[in-house]
Each structure stands twice: as structure tokens, then as C-alpha cells.
């Protein structure tokens, strides 16, 4: 049996929200966290909501000082369902001032080695609604890091101060950030100061500020988000890249524009694994209201095209609550049907994080990168038994247990 590392994408069951961990199969076992949605109920040991903070921490490595860390934290969208819980669970501030070294492991805040932030995303989100405290904290931390980088002229910046700016800001505010700026359509493979041989991503959005006010208004109103197509290799020398497309809450107009930009070379949008935008919202596919028009609601052909560049055997994941046939949006039953159609057309599969493995007891959904695409970890063999026990399968085995305990730690209270 191979004991090689795998590149793994883990989608945590966080309700209508995003929280995705990308673990790379490089020697450093690099971890990239895209968004965070740790709800209060998930932190409450008395509540049955899945403790996703623990799930996340269980998957993170500790550095030489015993701190749990992620190599990269990417906040792809400015709404709370993409950054809830970050102040509690992540450390923001100068790396030298990290205050939790004397705390128990479970109480140490997660150290972020490099932040990936998009000023345009936060700026547009802030225009429509007041940014939540968590988003403001994230933006402040990004600004702090950019300042450190500027002061150091981008040389010798320490882990904890590193930042990558995704997309240009308005009015040339990011023009001097060359070494830490990724422009739209750029392909990049640098993580935490080093080139990574299993990772190669292309930034597709947020689209730059439009000269036309009306167009800029459209981009803002359509939940401007970081859209990035992340290529992952099964191992450092693997020949093929398998792509994970994630697009935050980007809605229909943005996907239409992405299709216009890339329809001549649609491979830019090709994916083996896609997280449906905006938690399976109908508004990523249509301008119509699902609750009002239901079956008569029209799907935008261009947006659907942008979201249909699935490769054979690809997977589409709705990071949302369980999807039922009602007027709710998101998650939207109509959107689910569209994505299922897209998946079926490529012999692929549609999943919902709120339903995996069961709606009653959802667990992290994990895929590893193979030469052929993304495979569900611990996929069942023909005989019905799992090939390998992964977290999800072990959780499912645990869920089948009776209430009664057959093992009791410190059960013996008699001594001799």
C-alpha cells in the first residue's frame, strides 16, 4: 500500500457558507484554507452541530513552537459566511506578539503564515453593506501585512507578515505592490515565499474596477469574489494538473463576464472539482428569482457555460445546508438540478456538504488528487467495504454506533 502523501481538498460542513482546506502533497504538507465559517453552535460542545473547528485543527500541523498553522488563508468574499469565527480561531497581529504559546493546544489560535486578500472584493462588499467585524478584522490584518511588506521593500518578510494581494485595487493603490500582487488572469505558484511544485493557480476574479460606473455597480451587486482555478498535482512530479474551481459568492453577471473573457479558451475555466458559487444559489445561474418563477426561471446560457467546463468524472460540491425541493435560495433546488445535469454530462457526481455522509450527521467531505481527477477519500470498493479508513468513513462508522458505551476510560474505580 502506498504511503505517499496526497493532495487533499476538504470541504467542511459549515451550513450555508464556505470553509475549504487544500492540503498539498509537497514535502512541507502545505495547507491553504479558503474561507472560514465556524458558527457559534459549532463551537458549543453542548450543541450537536459539527465541531468543524476541531475538524480543521485536527488537519493542521504544528510549527516548531507548537502553534497550529495554515500556510495560507484566503478570504474569497467579504460576507460573514466566509469569515465567521476567524477572530476567535485565528491569530491576527505581528508574529512576534503571538500570545498563545503557553496555552493548551486546543486553545492556541491558528497562525497564518501568508494571507491572500483581495482589496477589491472587500471594497465592493463594503459599498453594498457594512462589512462585518470579522471581515473588518481580516482587512485590517491584510493592511498591516501590506504595510510591513512595503516597509521592508518586500525583502526578508517573515512568516506571519506575508501577504499576497489578489487583484488590483482601484486608483492605482496597489501599483507599488509588484512582488506581492497577483493580477487578474495571472498564473501563480508561489506559496509563502516559495514556488510550489504541486500547486499552480490562475486568478480569474475579482474583475478590475470598471471605468463605467454602471458596470462597476453590476460587479458589486453580484457578490464580487475571488474566483480562482487551482491546479493541483497528485505528487510533485505528476504530469497533469487537476483543477479545483472556487468562486466565493460570485453571481450570474460575474460568471457571464468570465465566460465572455475566456470562451475562446474555455480551458481556463475547466475543472475536476468545483465548489458551486454562493452555496448553490440560483443567482449564480440566473437573474430570475427562484421562489417567484420556479420552473419558469431562465438560466443564463453564458453563466451556465462558465460553470459547465467540467472534465470527465468531475465533482461539483454545494457547500450548503441540505437541499430540499422548496423556494429556499440558497441553497436552491433548481440550482442543484442544473449542477446535477452538468455533472451527469461528464459522468461526474454532485455532492452537498450538508448531506454528507448523512443530513443528520454531516462530516467533512474529502477528495484526493489522482492522475485521473479528484477521488473521494475512502471510496467504497465493489465488496461494499471501504478501501481505506479516512476521517469521513470513521465518522460514519461512529455514527452507526449505539448510544451505549462498551469502553470506559477510568471505568475501574477499584484498586489493589
Amino acid at each position: 500500500m502506498s504511503k505517499d502523501r496526497k493532495s487533499i481538498v476538504t470541504l467542511f460542513p459549515v451550513g450555508n457558507g464556505d470553509m475549504t482546506l487544500i492540503a498539498l502533497a509537497d514535502n512541507a504538507e502545505t495547507k491553504i484554507l479558503v474561507d472560514c465559517n465556524i458558527r457559534e453552535a459549532a463551537d458549543d460542545p453542548e450543541d450537536e452541530t459539527r465541531d468543524v473547528a476541531k475538524d480543521l485543527r485536527d488537519r493542521l500541523k504544528r510549527d516548531g513552537k507548537g502553534r497550529p498553522y495554515v500556510d495560507v488563508f484566503l478570504a474569497g468574499h467579504g460576507d460573514q459566511d466566509h469569515c465567521r469565527g476567524i477572530s476567535k480561531h485565528f491569530y491576527f497581529g505581528p508574529p512576534d506578539a503571538y500570545p498563545d504559546d503557553k496555552k493548551k493546544d486546543s486553545e492556541k489560535r491558528i497562525f497564518i503564515r501568508e494571507l491572500w486578500s483581495s482589496p477589491m472584493v472587500f471594497r465592493r462588499a463594503g459599498k453594498l453593506n457594512k462589512l462585518c467585524d470579522e471581515a473588518l478584522a481580516f482587512a485590517a490584518e491584510a493592511k498591516r501585512r501590506v504595510k510591513v511588506n512595503r516597509n521592508k521593500k518586500f525583502v526578508g518578510v517573515a512568516e506571519g507578515d506575508r501577504v499576497l494581494v489578489l487583484g488590483e485595487d482601484e486608483d492605482g493603490k496597489t501599483d507599488d505592490l509588484g512582488p506581492i500582487l497577483v493580477k487578474i488572469d495571472d498564473v501563480f505558484s508561489k506559496i509563502n515565499g516559495s514556488h510550489n511544485f504541486v500547486f499552480q493557480a490562475q486568478l480569474l476574479a475579482p474583475l478590475p474596477k470598471a471605468d463605467d460606473d454602471e458596470e462597476e455597480e453590476v460587479l458589486s451587486r453580484n457578490h464580487s469574489s475571488v474566483v480562482v482555478n487551482i491546479g493541483l498535482r497528485a505528487k510533485p512530479l505528476a504530469s497533469t494538473l487537476r483543477h479545483f474551481l472556487t468562486g466565493g459568492d460570485a453571481e450570474v453577471a460575474i460568471w457571464e463576464r468570465l465566460w465572455q473573457r475566456h470562451k475562446k479558451f474555455p480551458s481556463v475555466l475547466e475543472y475536476d472539482l468545483m465548489q458551486t458559487p454562493h452555496h448553490c444559489s440560483w443567482h449564480s445561474l440566473s437573474y430570475d428569482s427562484w421562489s417567484e418563477k420556479r420552473e419558469k426561471a431562465a438560466v443564463s446560457a453564458a453563466a451556465r457555460s462558465a460553470l459547465s467546463q467540467i472534465r470527465s468524472g468531475g465533482k461539483i460540491i454545494a457547500s450548503s445546508l441540505p437541499i430540499v425541493d422548496d423556494d429556499c435560495d440558497p441553497p436552491c433546488y433548481g440550482a442543484k438540478r442544473e449542477y446535477e445535469k452538468i455533472a451527469r454530462g461528464a459522468n461526474g457526481t454532485f455532492y452537498c456538504t450538508g448531506e454528507y455522509p448523512t443530513s443528520e450527521s454531516p462530516a467533512p467531505l474529502e477528495f484526493y488528487v489522482s492522475e485521473d481527477g479528484f477521488e473521494e477519500l475512502g471510496a467504497k470498493t465493489v465488496s461494499g467495504a471501504p478501501a481505506i479508513l479516512t476521517s469521513g468513513i470513521v465518522d460514519a462508522i461512529g455514527a452507526r454506533a449505539a448510544e451505549a458505551a462498551a469502553v470506559k476510560k477510568q471505568g475501574n474505580r477499584r484498586y489493589a
Partner: protein, 598 residues
Amino acid sequence: MLDVPSLEQRRQQAILQLHDFLCRECGAARIPDPEAAQIVGRNFISGWRLGIQPLQKQREMNVCVDGLFPFAAPRFQLIGGPAFLTWPHVEKDGALCLGDETFTVDASQPVLMARQLLVEMAFPLLRASESGSNREDFRTEFYSYWNASIPAGGVAIRSLLLPQGPSRAVRIWRGQHFAVVGETEQSILQWLKNLYGDQKQFDTTEASCLLWLNELPLPVQYPHRSSDVHAMAHASGGAELLLELAAKEKRSIPVIFGSVSENGPCLGAVIVSNTKRMDVVGRHINSIEAGFRPGLTPRKLIAKRLFNGSTPVTRAAVERADAAWVHGRDQDPRQATLASRRAVIIGCGAIGAPVATQLAMAGVGYILLVDPAILSWANIGRHPLGADSVGFGKAQQLAKKLAVSFPHAHFESRAEEFGAVLQKDQSLLADSDLIVCATGIWSVESALNAWHIGGMRPANILYSWTEPHACAGHAVAIKPDDACLQCQFSRLGDAKTTLTEWGSVGPKHEPACGAVYQPYGPVELAWTTALASALALDCLLSKISSSTHRIWAGPKAMLEAAGGSWNADWIRDRKEREAGGFLEQRVWAKDLTCPICT
């Protein structure tokens, strides 16, 4: 006879259920039984292998059961995992340490047991290990890992040190098979002489040092070279100590280190060797002092040469043998008090000797034993001393035995009548914190009582005796400013409270003049000695505020079997006392007509 399955049938049935679960739900493959049985160091009878992926890496794991299954849990054994001491709770052969001896299982639910172990313990342990989130466990269970990192055959170091900071100079005695480290030379040599007798090699100790660290090292930080030790000393503020030690010690430098883990203080040791080499004509030369006349090598140079990084070091285990550890593993808050207490035991017979032994075991730091009697064969059936002490003085032999058993404490003996001690060495009694009189002889008790009350000594005196056949026992703690012993005795030495009546059954006599005895055994007596020892501890810990009487009433069946009955006064209007088998505490009341204290 009921048709119930045999142990073997139960085991086979449980193994079948476990097989079904592991293969169907976990994708496991059965390991042929002969192969499972060949797993070294384990007594497995069946096993399965399954693939696991706790985080990013695929691994294999055995699930095996031994002959105690399903009454004992299956064991999980990681195959091809990282090197030993990389992950906590993983033994050298990959076995996962999931529980301790308090771990219990429901033998009727083998599948639920395995499921729970896998889901709640084994898999989370591997996930935490792979992420590194449980590496602090290396510190909380430091001894398990440090001691396992020491090559076989190393010299064990026994510690009498106070396991606390700061870093300081200490002393060490080094023998061929073990070493003893302590705060002072005297404490070490006394400990050795108590344990092994006064031997000529117990004449001197060497310098050593204790480095008190902010936190215990993780396995990756365990010192391998002398430079690691130097770094450790530097971090603990003990660099100067190490330098002084390097200048003094020619042979090798023993360095003790310690710190506090979540489960209490821990100690380890490292021996830094002074590497020797031969010159061209085969003479051993000391590389540390090479180029200088003996004793004239600059200290800084010695330190530089010794701690230059290339000198390998030997790790050693440190066994704590200090009083706080021996008596209660640091968890007994009474120890600091008890270690400083002095007790005198007058009468080292069937009550005095067990009480002295129990007080020594409880941690009393000094005990003087007074008894002129010689141990006889008839004594040893209910006495802590055995046949090897027959013909020797009870007090002397007991002091020796206790000194060997508890070499950190002090024991003395006087093979004299109490009267002689009272005449010659009153200060021995007066300086004590407690006197236990366990003679049951009224002349001794009444004289001691008169001395106690008349001398206004601050110490309490505890008197203990049994009634015939040990069917009832008494322990009386007398406060010097409260009711005295005489208050509840007649002037002829009859206790005012007796529990039992014996009619014509009198004491037994050996075929010799004055050889009176009571025919009871150690088990019957144990209730009374425990009663007396507990009250003695209360006295030593200042928990007794007035003269106190504790009574043990034996079970009625025991009393009747010996031919006795309850005293009518004892059970008058107290029917609940008739069954016996209980302990009662009462005030030792003052008698306003007492000829001694009034």
C-alpha cells in the same frame, strides 16, 4: 449445570463478530492466526490489517486480540509508522497506547467496543499525532518517553532531591550499578548506610548539578551531545554551575535536570563523558586537560573542550526515592508535616510494632522504638518481624528493618525498659511530637501518664490496647492540658469502658513464669492497629483538640466464637451495638476526682 458458553466459546464468538465488523465496515483483511501469534512481544491470537488515512498519508494498522478478549480490548498497532518517539502514545512496535489500567470494557459488546476504540481513540490519536497537536503529551508523560530513550544497561540514578527549582549544585554518589543524588553528602550517605549497612564505599560523594528547566524537553530535544547539555544549562540559568562542575570533575559529569509537567515534577539525567585518548606510546591522556599541567587548565577552556558539541552524552533514568514521592507520589499534602514529625513508640509488640511500621509507611520522619523484649518464635505470627529476628531485641530489629525499608527516614531504638529511658533520656520523650504507648501494662501507662501531666509536655500521648482475643480495641489520645489517662481508669488500672465479658475465660499462660498471652492472630488485631495508627496520624497532624477515645467493636460472631459476650453496660439501651463490627469515637472525659490531673 447451566448450559453457559465456555470462555473459549465466548472468545470465538466475539472474534467472529469482530471479524465481521472489521471486514465489512472497515475493509480489513484477516491476518492468518499463526502470523498474528508471531507478532513479537504480544500474545495475540487473532489479527486483522486495515488501511487508514488519518490525514494526508495512507498507513496500515493491525487490530489484534489476545487471550483475554473480549474481556480485554483489542490492541491497535500502527505498521510502518514514523520512528519511535516521533508520536506520543505509540510504542516501539507501533502499538497504540489507548488507555491505562482503569480502562474497562463491556465483554458482551465486542463490536461496539472495537467501533468505539477505533472512532473515539485510535483514529483521533493518529490524526493528532500526524498533525502534531498532541506533542505536549511527550511532556505530560515524560518518564514513559525519556526512560524508553535510554539504552539498556545504563546506570539508574536514585534521587533524594527536592524536585523543584532553582538550578543548583547537588551531590551524587556513584556506584557500579546505580547512583544516588541528593541535596547534601550527609543525606546521601545516610540513605546508603540505612539501606545497605555501614560499608566503606559510602564515605564520600561527588559534585553534580540540578538544572531546573522552564519545560521538559520533547524527544527531538533530548540531549545527544555535550553542546545540547550546555544549551540546556544556559536556558535554565545553570551555565555557571556546569562550568564549575566541568572544572572539578575529571571522570565524567553527571547532570540532573528537571521541570514540572502537567502531572507533576519530573527528573532526568545526562552523563557528559570526559573523553580519553591514548598518546603515541599508549598512555591514557585526558583530552580535557591536554596541554596543561593537571589542575591548571583554564576553566573556560575545560568548558569549551567538554561542551564543544562533539562529545557524546549518555542519558540516564532518574528514579525518585525522596520522601514526598515514596509516601504518596507527591499527592499527599500531609507529607511535609509528617516528614518533620518525631514519634516515640513504647512497646514494640503486636500493637506497637505494626503501628510503628504504619507510621513509617505513612511518612513520619523520625521514630524512636523502645522495648527491652527479645523476639521469640511465638511472637512472629502477629509481628512485622519474622524468623530472621528471633533472638534479637524487638526494638533494635524493627528499627533496622524500617531503616532498610525507608532509608530516607530516621529510626532509633532503645532496648530498655521504659523506666530506664525515663530515668536516663527524658529528653528523647520530651522532644517528640507524639508518644505511642502500646504496652498494655498499667505500671508503664500510669507512670507515663503521671510524667506527661506532671511535666506539662506539649506532646500528645496515645495509648492503645485490645480486649481479650482482640475482639475490641482501644486507642486513647491524651492532650497534656485535658483529661488524663487515669480519668477513665480505676486506680488499679481497670478501664472504665470495656466492651466484652469473658466469665471464666481468662488469659492463657505459656508453661513459664509470667508468660501471659492472648490467643489472637494478626487479622483480628489489624482492626486495633489501624485504629491506633489513624489516631496517631491525627495527633501528629494536630487534628486532635481534646483527649479522644476511639473504640473498635469487633463483630459479634468473632466475640462469641472466642467464648465472650458483650459487657451489659456497653449494650444497655443500645441494641444497635449488639452486632458489633463498628468504630466509635467519644470524648475521653475528665474525672474531677482524678488523683493525677485534678
